[in-house]
Every structure is written in structure tokens, then in C-alpha cells.
């Protein structure tokens, strides 16, 4: 079962005239990746900007004719299942008044990125968003191969052939322009063998131009970008080559050389028999108008948007066409074929151009097992529709693959959103933590300064009473703590002798340290005593944990010591306060004293360690 023999052959438009649709009563334009810059009720002129691109993948929308904006809101789009999307309705006034078009006079001076952005502003669309991908244009890597894709990929398509027959000179001009700006090492126009008239029209032009004509003979999905690149690009070129649809290239030529935004395209209206019509239609024209122009009525026929294999049914003839509407198929209404169970004939696998196993993929896609579908390489499916066409059971293979790919895309988006949320949450936690530490540091510094002052005042050996301390035993405890601190301070040089380079500095530091320690111990003891006097605190462990996180991550030795002491004291305090609340004063005082002692000792120990 070879593919070329079973697909209907391409029929050349030949000498058929290119029709022009009359001005429709209403135009429905979609705003994908574009934000509207007109208001309801506003009168717009032909070529006037209606919406600006607001993302990398959107293009601007221009008014196809003059008229009034009637509505801006969700409209059904010419896509599978006709999803609602924001669009605008333009009611033509029949005058067709146009803005004057300033042509780009110094276009040869444009850079690739400038060209890409200019095309985006002119509403010229390629296969995925703007004709030239912005991300690619911004990289500005030298282009090895530029393919202009004029292959009529699916059965019943004629629009590109028609365009080449009618506008061969304009296309050649546009290609010359692209070649001049993008400077590809090789510029190729790919066309299929069956498109005889178009080839004839181009042959005469190709002789003295910078581009080559490549006639493709491969079977059906050969017109896909990936397949074309595989067929035409040499191994060394495959990395940096670009494939552009010929309709977009033609529109780009009009836009850059004549300043004319893209407002129309050629559409084939075919009855899937021999008869077909090609017409130039304004973007946003309702499908019904195109059918009327071709002499068909939309009531008696089922509508298919697209070619014979990838086309999808349109539920409604009022939907407006868009830049990808290359073909409209009209069929007599028939009862839909019912899907039968898979009989494992294996035809889908043998015809698949990507060498996938569509029956396995379908099984997993229909059961919503996306991970399995990915394992069976759903991502490699080019959605060519051949498997659906050869399936004897009429299984909706292509539909389910389309749906599953979309779900996969959605799942990826959700995963990205989740990753972003995780990052933001973690950063927030980090920020809170940092703020807390900085606050604690500031507080500690202030406490240390005050304590130093106090210590200077209390430099006399008579350990005078703390003004705020009330109980005598508390004072005694503090005094004991201070005495111990002083003792340790005296012992310190013996513990760590001649380690410091400058003994004088060490002595000064030690003095200061002792004073600070004493003050710290006092403060801690006081605070602890007050806390302990309170009734049982319920959230003691939590506080302890909070304080634990205030690790001495400070670079200054002094602050480290202070914090260590403080947090030890607090931990002790917390432990104390979590113990039964009915402690008498004596016990509390003892605990406080012990705590203060421990804190002082620890502080001294820490200090010696850090001195080392």
C-alpha cells in the first residue's frame, strides 16, 4: 500500500480565474496574541491597525476594509471544535476608504529582527505566529538555508499554486527581498511535481534570480516543515535553516515593498469532486460568503475547514476565515460513520510517516493516559491524518491525537505554573527568613550598645542593683553570673595565649567582651525571669524553634557571641516556661541564675573558640 497511489492526485488550478469575493456584510477577525486598540462603535479605515501583537506568537490585525466596529468579544473561531475566543466584528460601510500606505523606502537596511518585528506589525503570519519567529530573529545567527514552501500538501488544496500562477513576479520580488535582508547561503523554493502550471510560471523567473526551484517528489506529508527540512537541508545546514510558507512570503513582500498590511488571502473552495474555485477573500469574511461566491449554498452542505486529510468540520457558516484558511471543503451532508473497534489490522502503523504505532497511541489517548502516550511518542506525531484515513474502523485517531497533544500542552503549562509558584514560595520563605535575621541582628546591635553603656556605668566593683530588677534573689543571681563571667574573662588569656597577633587589641576586645557578656547575661536573666513569672506559654517549642533559626550567621565575632548567648538563654527560658507553671519564686530564680550562668559560660567558650 503505497501512499501516492491511494491519495487523490493534485489537480492544477490551470486556467481557472482567481475570483474576488464581494464585500461581505460582516467581518469577524480573531485576536489571538493581539490586544485590541479600537473601541466599539469606532469607524476605522482600510489598513488601519485594529489590534497590536501582545506576545511573541501574535501578529497585529488590520482592518480589511473601512467600516464600524460593532462588537468586541468572544467569537467562535475556525479551529477544531470552534472554540470561543476574543475577536472583533467589523461592519463594512462599503466605501472601502483606505489609509495612505507609506512604503518602506530603505528596506535593504533592515536587520533580521527589525524585519521580523515589522512583519509582525503588518500582520503577516507564518506557520506559527509571525512569519519570522522573533526568537530566531533575535539570535541573528547566519542562515544557511531558507526554504519557501509552496508545496500543496494535502489533497484539494490549490491556493498556493494559484498564488504562484497569478503573482509569480510578486513572489519572486518578495523572495529577492527576503534573500537580501536575511542573507541565506541558499534560498530554495520547494514545489511539488504535480503543480505544473506554477512550475512553468516560476521556471522563466528562476533563471536570473538568487533562488533555486526544488521540485519535490515525495509522497504526502512532504510539505510539512520538518519533512521539507529533512528532504532539502544538507546535514551541515539542518541546524540553522528556516521554512516559510509561500503565502506568507508573498504577504511579506507586499508589506515591506509596498507598505500594505496583510488583509486578505487566497482560499480554495472545493466540493471534493473535480470542481473547485479559488478566490481572494478578505480575512474575517464569513465562510458562507465564500460559498455563495463559488455558487454553493451553506445550508445543504457540511463544511470542512482545511484539506482532505487534516480538515476539520466547521459547525457554523458564519465563522470568519483567518490566515490559515487555505481551503474550504464542501460535502453533501451524510450520516456520520460510526467508529468500530480496532481490528488490529496494522495499516495505520505501516502508513505512518513518523513510524509511530497509532493504534497504541490511540488506546492510551482514549484512556487519557498521557504519560503512556508520551512514551509512544505522541510528541513526534505530525498530525498528518493518514492513520485516520486508512483506518477501516473509522476510529477518530487524528482527533484524539489532537486533543491529547493539547492536553499535554496544558499539562506542561500547568507544570510551568507550578514550578514558578514553587520558586516564588521558596523565595518568599527565604525573604521572610532573611528579614527576620536582619531584624534580630539590628535588635542585638542596639542591645549591645545599651549594654556596653550600662557596663561602663557599672565599672565599679560594687555590683550595684539593676534598676528594673525587683527581687533580691534575682540580683544575687545576676551578681553571681557576673562574677563568673569576670572569672572566665580573667582565665581567658591563659586558655588562649599568644594566639592573637596583637595582644593589645586582644586585651581591649576582651575587656569589651567581658562587659558585653555581663550586660547580656543580665539582660537575659532579667528577661528569662520575667517570662518565667508569666503563666505557662503554650507555644514555647515554636518559639524555641524560631530562635533556633536565628543562627549566628553573622560575620562579626561580637554579634555572633551576643546572638549565641541570647538564643541559648531563650531556649532555656522556653524550656523553663514549658515546664509546669506553678513554680515558686525561689525555683524560678534558681533557674534564671543557672541559665544566666550557662549563657555566660557558653558565650565565653564561644569567644575563645572564635579567637582561636
Amino acid at each position: 500500500m503505497s501512499r501516492p497511489s491511494i491519495l487523490p492526485a493534485h489537480t492544477d488550478p490551470g486556467s481557472q480565474p482567481l475570483l474576488t469575493t464581494p464585500l461581505p456584510a460582516q467581518l469577524r477577525l480573531w485576536l489571538q496574541g493581539a490586544s485590541c486598540c479600537v473601541e466599539v462603535g469606532q469607524r476605522v479605515l482600510k489598513h488601519q491597525l485594529l489590534a497590536e501583537a501582545d506576545s511573541e506568537f501574535g501578529v497585529a490585525v488590520h482592518a480589511p476594509t473601512s467600516g464600524h466596529i460593532r462588537a468586541i468579544g468572544p467569537l467562535p473561531q475556525a479551529l477544531p471544535d470552534a472554540p470561543l475566543l476574543d475577536g472583533l466584528q467589523l461592519q463594512p460601510d462599503g466605501l472601502d476608504e483606505a489609509l495612505s500606505l507609506p512604503a518602506e523606502s530603505n528596506w535593504p537596511a533592515l536587520s533580521a529582527l527589525a524585519l521580523a518585528m515589522r512583519l509582525q506589525d503588518m500582520g503577516v503570519m507564518g506557520q506559527h505566529g509571525p512569519l519570522l519567529p522573533l526568537a530566531w530573529a533575535a539570535k541573528a545567527s547566519p542562515l544557511a538555508l531558507l526554504i519557501i514552501n509552496a508545496v500543496e500538501n494535502e489533497p484539494f488544496l490549490q491556493a498556493d499554486s494559484m498564488l504562484l500562477c497569478e503573482q509569480a513576479a510578486a513572489v519572486a520580488e518578495a523572495m529577492a527581498m527576503l534573500g537580501r535582508i536575511l542573507q541565506p547561503a541558499r534560498l530554495v523554493l520547494a514545489i511539488q511535481q504535480e503543480q505544473g502550471a506554477a512550475i512553468n510560471a516560476l521556471r522563466s523567473l528562476a533563471a536570473d534570480q538568487c533562488w533555486q526551484l526544488e521540485v519535490i517528489q515525495a509522497p504526502y506529508p512532504a510539505g510539512d516543515e520538518a519533512q521539507l527540512l529533512r528532504a532539502l537541508a544538507r546535514p551541515e545546514e539542518s541546524g540553522n535553516s528556516l521554512c516559510l510558507p509561500v503565502a506568507g512570503v508573498h504577504a511579506a513582500g507586499r508589506a515591506i515593498l509596498h507598505g500594505e498590511p496583510c488583509i486578505s488571502r487566497i482560499v480554495t473552495v472545493s466540493t471534493a469532486l473535480k470542481q473547485s474555485h479559488n478566490m481572494r477573500a478578505l480575512l474575517g469574511s464569513p465562510v458562507a460568503d465564500l460559498l455563495t461566491c463559488a455558487g454553493l449554498s451553506s445550508q445543504q452542505h457540511a463544511l470542512v475547514h482545511g484539506g482532505g486529510l487534516r480538515g476539520f468540520a466547521l459547525p457554523d457558516a458564519t465563522i470568519g476565515i483567518h490566515q490559515h484558511s487555505h481551503c474550504l471543503l464542501v460535502r453533501p451532508r451524510q450520516p456520520a460513520l460510526t467508529a468500530q473497534p480496532c481490528i488490529r489490522c496494522g495499516d495505520c502503523a505501516s502508513i505512518c510517516p513518523s513510524q509511530l504505532q497509532p493504534q497504541e497511541l490511540y488506546w492510551h489517548c482514549s484512556r487519557q493516559e498521557l504519560a503512556q502516550a508520551q512514551h509512544w511518542r505522541l510528541a513526534d506525531c505530525s498530525q498528518c491524518g493518514l492513520c485516520s484515513a486508512v483506518c477501516p474502523s473509522q476510529l477518530p485517531l487524528l482527533d484524539s491525537f489532537r486533543l491529547a497533544s493539547q492536553q499535554l500542552l496544558l499539562a506542561e503549562q500547568q507544570q510551568c505554573a507550578a514550578d514558578a509558584a514553587r520558586q516564588r514560595h521558596r523565595f518568599r520563605q527565604f525573604r521572610l527568613e532573611r528579614d527576620k535575621q536582619e531584624k534580630a541582628q539590628r535588635l542585638a546591635e542596639r542591645a549591645a550598645q545599651q549594654a556596653a553603656k550600662l557596663a561602663q556605668q557599672a565599672a565599679e566593683p560594687t555590683s550595684h542593683a539593676e534598676p528594673t530588677a525587683t527581687a533580691a534573689d534575682k540580683q544575687a543571681a545576676i551578681a553571681a553570673a557576673m562574677a563568673r563571667a569576670a572569672e572566665r574573662q580573667q582565665q581567658r588569656p591563659a586558655v588562649a595565649p599568644s594566639v592573637n597577633s596583637s595582644e593589645r587589641e586582644a586585651a581591649i576586645a576582651a575587656n569589651r567582651q567581658a562587659a558585653i557578656e555581663a550586660a547580656m547575661a543580665r539582660a537575659a536573666a532579667r528577661k528569662a525571669a520575667q517570662e518565667a513569672a508569666k503563666a505557662a506559654a503554650a507555644d514555647a517549642p515554636a518559639m524555641a524553634k524560631d530562635e533556633d533559626q536565628n543562627k549566628p550567621g553573622l560575620n562579626q565575632q561580637q554579634q555572633a557571641l551576643i546572638q549565641a548567648a541570647m538564643h541559648r538563654a531563650n531556649a532555656q527560658k522556653a524550656a523553663a516556661s514549658s515546664s509546669p507553671a506553678s513554680l515558686d519564686q525561689d525555683k524560678k530564680a534558681l533557674i534564671a541564675a543557672a541559665m544566666a550562668r550557662a549563657a555566660a559560660r557558653k558565650a565565653a567558650g564561644d569567644e575563645t573558640e572564635q579567637d582561636k
Binding site: L79, Q127, H128, P133, E225, Q406, R422, H425
Partner: protein, 193 residues
């Protein structure tokens, strides 16, 4: 003669059995050292709304509790049944339906601040786990809809009840024509052939 042949065949069978056992043992023990810690892998599955509906203070604490085996996998309503399936697959446990006491599952929503009523108290800003609310004291606040996870943690602290949840609009209406997988592939160096 047959005895020798029998012995040779026996040895062959034993050797083959040894090979099968060895390869299965490798399959049984996948290289766990290359994997990130279990809590991280669980956290990667969780939806990161940080809503606390599971009873933990965020997704990571819940993931850690799951990794320690201290909680059940059916406590995350935003993750949906799909999330439970993924967790069950990762943790080699059975699928569990949602816990009876778990909050009901809701469609994804984003918070919206009624700008006329907002008094600028900053309480919602402090409550937002992903910093998706902008504003400062006495100034009107606003929600970054792209960053909002729909956790509803900002609803409770608001003193004037000016925050409401609106259904998120990012359904797959963004059907991009032949979304640019191929285009990006085609211009990446050395990707195709």
C-alpha cells in the same frame, strides 16, 4: 554421551538463569543515588498552590510528611484525582479516593481584589504564599493573576472582605495554530536530520 550432553545443557540453563536473575536484580534496584530525595520528587508532583488544605503549611511540608509516611496521599484537592494517581505510582501505594474530611475540589480560580473596597491594610500581602499580591500600606492592592495559585489564603485575613475568587480563564482556548514546536526545533542548531 547423553549424560555429557545433559550436563552441558544443565550448565547452560544455570548460566542463563543466573543472567536472568542478575538483570532482574538490576531492574529491582534502580539507581536510587541519581534520583533527588523522595520529598523533592513528591513536591514536584504537588500543584504548588501552597494552600494548606492538606493541613500542612505548604506543599513542601506535605511532601516531607508523605516521604516520612506520616500522611495519606489523598489530602490535596487542588492536585485532583490525577495527582493522587501520580502520588500512588511514585510511592508504590494503592489509589485512594479523596478523604471524607478533605475540602471539596474546586475548579482553578484566581483571587480578585475589589479595588473600591480595599483599604490597603497589607494583611493579604502577608498571607499570600507566593507573593502574588502587590501594594503597600494605605494603598490599593492588586493580584497578579498569572502568579496567583488560587489558594484562598488571602480571603480570611481581609478585614473588609474585598477579595473574591474568579474562575481562571486559561483554559485551552489558546489553541495555537500548529504550536511552535517544529519552528523552534528547526532553528535550533543540530536538532534535526
Amino acid at each position: 554421551m547423553t549424560l555429557v550432553l545433559r550436563l552441558l545443557l544443565l550448565l547452560l540453563a544455570i548460566w542463563l538463569l543466573g543472567k536472568v536473575l542478575r538483570s532482574s536484580a538490576q531492574k529491582l534496584r534502580p539507581a536510587t543515588s541519581t534520583l533527588p530525595p523522595l520529598a523533592e520528587r513528591i513536591d514536584a508532583i504537588l500543584p504548588q498552590t501552597q494552600c494548606g488544605q492538606c493541613g500542612h503549611a505548604g506543599c513542601l511540608p506535605y511532601a516531607q510528611a508523605l516521604a516520612r509516611g506520616e500522611d495519606s496521599i489523598n489530602r490535596c484537592p487542588p492536585g485532583g484525582e490525577d495527582g493522587i494517581r501520580k502520588l500512588a505510582a511514585l510511592l508504590h501505594t494503592d489509589y485512594l479516593p479523596f478523604a471524607a474530611d478533605a475540602p471539596p475540589q474546586k475548579p482553578k480560580a484566581v483571587a480578585l481584589i475589589d479595588e473600591a473596597t480595599c483599604i490597603g491594610c497589607t494583611l493579604c500581602i502577608q498571607a499570600c504564599p507566593v507573593d502574588a499580591i502587590l501594594g503597600s500600606a494605605k494603598q490599593m492592592h492588586t493580584v497578579l493573576a498569572d502568579e496567583c495559585t488560587g489558594c484562598e489564603l488571602c480571603l480570611a485575613p481581609c478585614p473588609v472582605d474585598c477579595i473574591s475568587m474568579r474562575p481562571a480563564t486559561s483554559q485551552p482556548a489558546d489553541w495555537r495554530w500548529g504550536y511552535p514546536v517544529i519552528a523552534i526545533k528547526a532553528v535550533k542548531p543540530g536538532s534535526s536530520s
